[in-house]
Structure formats: structure tokens, C-alpha cells
């Protein structure tokens, strides 16, 4: 009898999946796929500092193509429509609608990039308890930075689908800097693409903002030699400065979750260049004046990351 009990105990162990044998990062990979492959419609609240905004999102995978429509429910009735990598934002004003083409973004709940290898290198993954969000059971997952160049992220992933239903960004003191959370979400209700059209108002004039001239053929004349570890350049834009016949360079770096913008632009005549650091909730800014140029870095990262970056710009 003693041997049978021992055998049963061993069999139970063999059937129970041990956490050490599993790849804990699979939950992030599942979540990334869920945010792209699922059809869902919901409303989430997004908070940045004192500012609170409600956003409605509809997402569908049609064949192999992704369609998303995002409507701002508070303030201006702005809209975003994205089809795969084409993203267009409609800014609605009293008399006109300004259309801007944008780069593809990782907008909540599509937070994770396709390749999470950099996230694995620079964040520690830990699991929290099960919690209820938007009426659904979620698994809390924490991504804690291994260094001081980035913030901590917490995600509440839907237990059934793995879609992120809530996200919190916090600093080393565990103060919440930014958060987004669904209060209502429905899966599988989006079946066609009739909803994928901008809300037209022919009483308004439609204008295209073509100021962002990414294709402009200008060589980069500067280098940044101390990019925070794990951050890679994901975008480089050249845009014409407002009211000036000069261009501004804008480079974007990311570690997969956090983003830093680096601006290199000539100082306008009569304008005083800025130097020093500034904190605005989760966003930190560091500025430097160098050889007639304003060097400025902005990012949802600790001040150390933006300061190191601007100090390393040379030309």
C-alpha cells in the first residue's frame, strides 16, 4: 500500500506542469498575438498624470489584414483609422477636419512588439494574482526593469484570451505614472467591415497635413553615441519647422515598451535655446544647446536615460 501511494504521488508530480519547465514569456507572446488576431470592441479609460480620457476601440482581423478604429470620446471627437501599417488620424475642429498620416504605433491594448527579445533582456517577468477587470478574470503580469533606464510595467491579461485589459506604468518608487484600463469589452461581435469608415461631415472642409516630410532626402549630420542599453532606433523623421525654411530631425528609440524621442533642430532667430531637465508625470525631458542647435530628448523613461542621450549627440 505504501508503494502504491508513493507511485500515485510520483504520477501526480509527473502530470503537474512545473513552472520551471515552462517558458514564462509565452504569456507575453500569447498576449501579443491576441491583440492582433482577436476581434473585439470596447471602451477604455486612459490616464496620464491629471488627464483622463475615454477611448472606444474596434479591432478586427479580416483575412490577414488588421483593421482598427479608435474614437476619442472626451473633448475633440478625433478618430484614428488604421489598416495594417497605414494609420490616419482625423482631427476634428469647428470648421474643418485635419487628416494626418501617422506611423504605426503600439497603441493600447496592442502594446507588445512582434519580437520580444529585447524585453526579455531588459525586464524581469513576475506573475501576480488573478484579478477582475471589465467584468473578466485577468492574470496580473509584472515587467520589472533590470536597470534604471526604464519604468516598470504591469499588465492584466484576460485569462481566456490573453488580451491586455489593463496596463500601469510606474516608477522605481512604485508611483503610478500612466494607466489604461478597459471598463467594457466584447469579443467576437465584430463580423464585418461596415464600421471601418471615418465619420464624414461634408459641412466641414477636409485638409491633409503634409508637413511631416519623412521622405525628404537629407543626410543625418549628427550621431548619438550613448543610446540607453536595449534601445534601438525605430524611426527617423525630418520635418519642416513651423514658420521656418529649416528642418528638424526627430529620431525615435525603443526597447520594445518604452520610447524616447530625440530632436536635433536649429535654434530660431531671436529664440533662446533651452538647457536642463524637466519632469511632466511619466514624461521626462532633457535639453542641451550645442553649436547653434537645440538638442532635446523626450521620453516616458527616467531622466537619466534622456540626459545621457542628449549629452552624447555630436556633429
Amino acid at each position: 500500500m505504501k508503494y502504491i501511494s508513493l507511485l500515485l504521488f510520483l504520477l501526480t508530480l509527473a502530470k503537474t506542469p512545473l513552472l520551471a519547465d515552462q517558458n514564462p514569456w509565452e504569456i507575453i507572446e500569447r498576449s501579443q498575438k491576441a491583440s492582433q488576431n482577436l476581434n473585439y470592441k470596447g471602451i477604455y479609460i486612459s490616464q496620464n498624470g491629471q488627464e483622463l480620457k475615454s477611448v472606444e476601440i474596434t479591432h478586427a482581423l479580416h483575412g490577414s489584414e488588421q483593421f482598427t478604429k479608435i474614437n476619442l470620446l472626451d473633448g475633440n471627437a478625433d478618430e484614428v483609422l488604421s489598416h495594417d501599417k497605414n494609420v490616419v488620424i482625423y482631427h476634428k475642429h469647428d470648421n474643418n477636419v485635419v487628416i494626418q498620416k501617422r506611423e504605426q504605433q503600439h497603441l493600447f491594448p496592442v502594446i507588445f512588439p512582434g519580437d520580444i527579445s529585447e524585453i526579455k533582456k531588459y525586464y524581469l517577468l513576475s506573475f501576480g494574482v488573478l484579478e477582475r477587470v471589465a467584468g473578466r478574470i485577468t492574470q496580473r503580469v509584472n515587467l520589472i526593469p533590470k536597470d534604471s533606464f526604464r519604468y516598470a510595467y504591469s499588465f492584466w491579461l484576460d485569462q481566456e484570451t490573453s488580451l491586455p485589459l489593463k496596463m500601469i506604468i510606474s516608477n522605481i518608487e512604485k508611483n503610478i505614472l500612466e494607466q489604461s484600463a478597459f471598463n467594457k469589452i466584447q469579443f467576437g461581435t465584430v463580423t464585418d467591415l461596415k464600421w471601418f469608415t471615418p465619420t464624414l461631415d461634408f459641412s466641414k472642409k477636409y485638409l491633409i497635413d503634409e508637413n511631416i516630410t519623412k521622405e525628404i532626402n537629407i543626410n543625418r549630420f549628427w550621431t548619438a553615441n550613448n543610446i540607453p542599453p536595449g534601445f534601438k532606433e525605430v524611426n527617423f523623421m525630418v520635418s519642416k519647422m513651423t514658420d521656418m525654411n529649416l528642418v528638424s530631425n526627430h529620431s525615435v528609440y525603443s526597447d520594445g515598451l518604452s520610447y524616447i524621442s530625440l530632436f536635433v533642430q536649429p535654434v530660431r532667430k531671436g529664440q533662446k535655446p533651452k538647457v536642463g531637465d524637466l519632469s511632466m508625470n511619466a514624461t521626462n525631458v532633457s535639453a542641451r544647446y550645442y553649436k547653434g542647435y537645440q538638442i532635446m530628448a523626450v521620453g516616458s523613461v527616467p531622466i537619466k536615460a534622456v540626459r545621457n542621450l542628449i549629452d552624447s549627440v555630436e556633429f
Partner: protein, 150 residues
């Protein structure tokens, strides 16, 4: 479709034909990525969209407005001067003159650019907006960038 497109940009198509043209084209999967241009078609036909009128005018305006980057170009070839030994007095005279002028200008402009401390009230809005528009994962993404002609 090509012919209709051509007519459209020549301002020859009738406005009532536009809706049927759009609705037939938007159904084609390969045309869906172009859907954001449909909004401007009405303006193109009515001549309200500046990009549609006179092509040469548009090109000339584009050249005039071509932004300038102050750095980043290859240096010009070194200038070769055929130095005439007998003109050394003239050269010396010019050198002294330029040295005096340079020293005078330099002393006047030494402190013309004085950087100031970055403060919240003077944080350039276009920089913050450009950052959020290209990096934000939340509602900050909705900020409007660069366009000022409201």
C-alpha cells in the same frame, strides 16, 4: 479606373460620379490602403485642395519652400590659390584688416546666444506633440502635430 483618375485630377469628373467611384473602389482589397485619400477628392474637384491645381505652380512653390538643412553636406573642394610673391604686401594688408574686423565683430556677438533653463511653461509644444504622436501607447497619441492653419 485610370481614365477616371486622370479626369479627376484634371478637374473634369462630375461631382455626382465621385460617390459611386469611391464606393466601387473601396470594396477592392488592394484599394483599401488608399482610403484616406478619398476624403480629399471632394476638395480636389471643388478646387479647394491646393495640391490639385496647376502643377508647375505647385512645383515652383515646392522648390521655394524646400526646407534647408544647415549641416550635413560634403565640404567643397579646397580652393587652390596661385600665390604671387609680389602681392604679399596687399595680402598682408587684407589680413590685418580682416583680423581687426573679426575681432570687433566677435567681441560684440560673444554673448548673443544665452541658453535659458528649461521650464514647463516654455516647453515647446511642437516637440511634446511630435513625441506623443509618434511614441504614445495611450490617448496622448491623439495630439495634433505641426499643422497650424486651423
Amino acid at each position: 479606373m485610370t481614365e477616371k483618375n486622370s479626369s479627376l485630377f484634371d478637374n473634369e469628373i462630375k461631382e455626382e460620379d465621385i460617390r459611386s467611384l469611391i464606393s466601387s473602389e473601396i470594396k477592392k482589397p488592394n484599394m483599401r490602403s488608399q482610403w484616406f485619400y478619398y476624403q480629399t477628392i471632394r476638395d480636389v474637384v471643388r478646387g479647394e485642395y491646393s495640391g490639385s491645381s496647376n502643377l508647375s505652380k505647385k512645383i515652383m512653390a515646392a522648390i521655394d519652400e524646400e526646407p534647408t538643412q544647415m549641416r550635413g553636406y560634403s565640404p567643397a573642394k579646397e580652393l587652390v590659390v596661385d600665390f604671387n610673391f609680389y602681392n604679399w604686401q596687399l595680402v598682408l594688408g587684407f589680413a590685418v584688416f580682416f583680423a581687426i574686423v573679426f575681432a570687433g565683430l566677435n567681441s560684440k556677438n560673444e554673448n548673443t546666444v544665452i541658453p535659458v533653463q528649461l521650464v514647463y511653461e516654455e516647453m515647446p509644444v511642437e516637440i511634446i506633440n511630435a513625441h506623443f504622436a509618434n511614441t504614445s501607447s495611450t490617448a496622448n497619441y491623439f495630439v495634433q502635430t505641426t499643422f497650424i492653419n486651423k
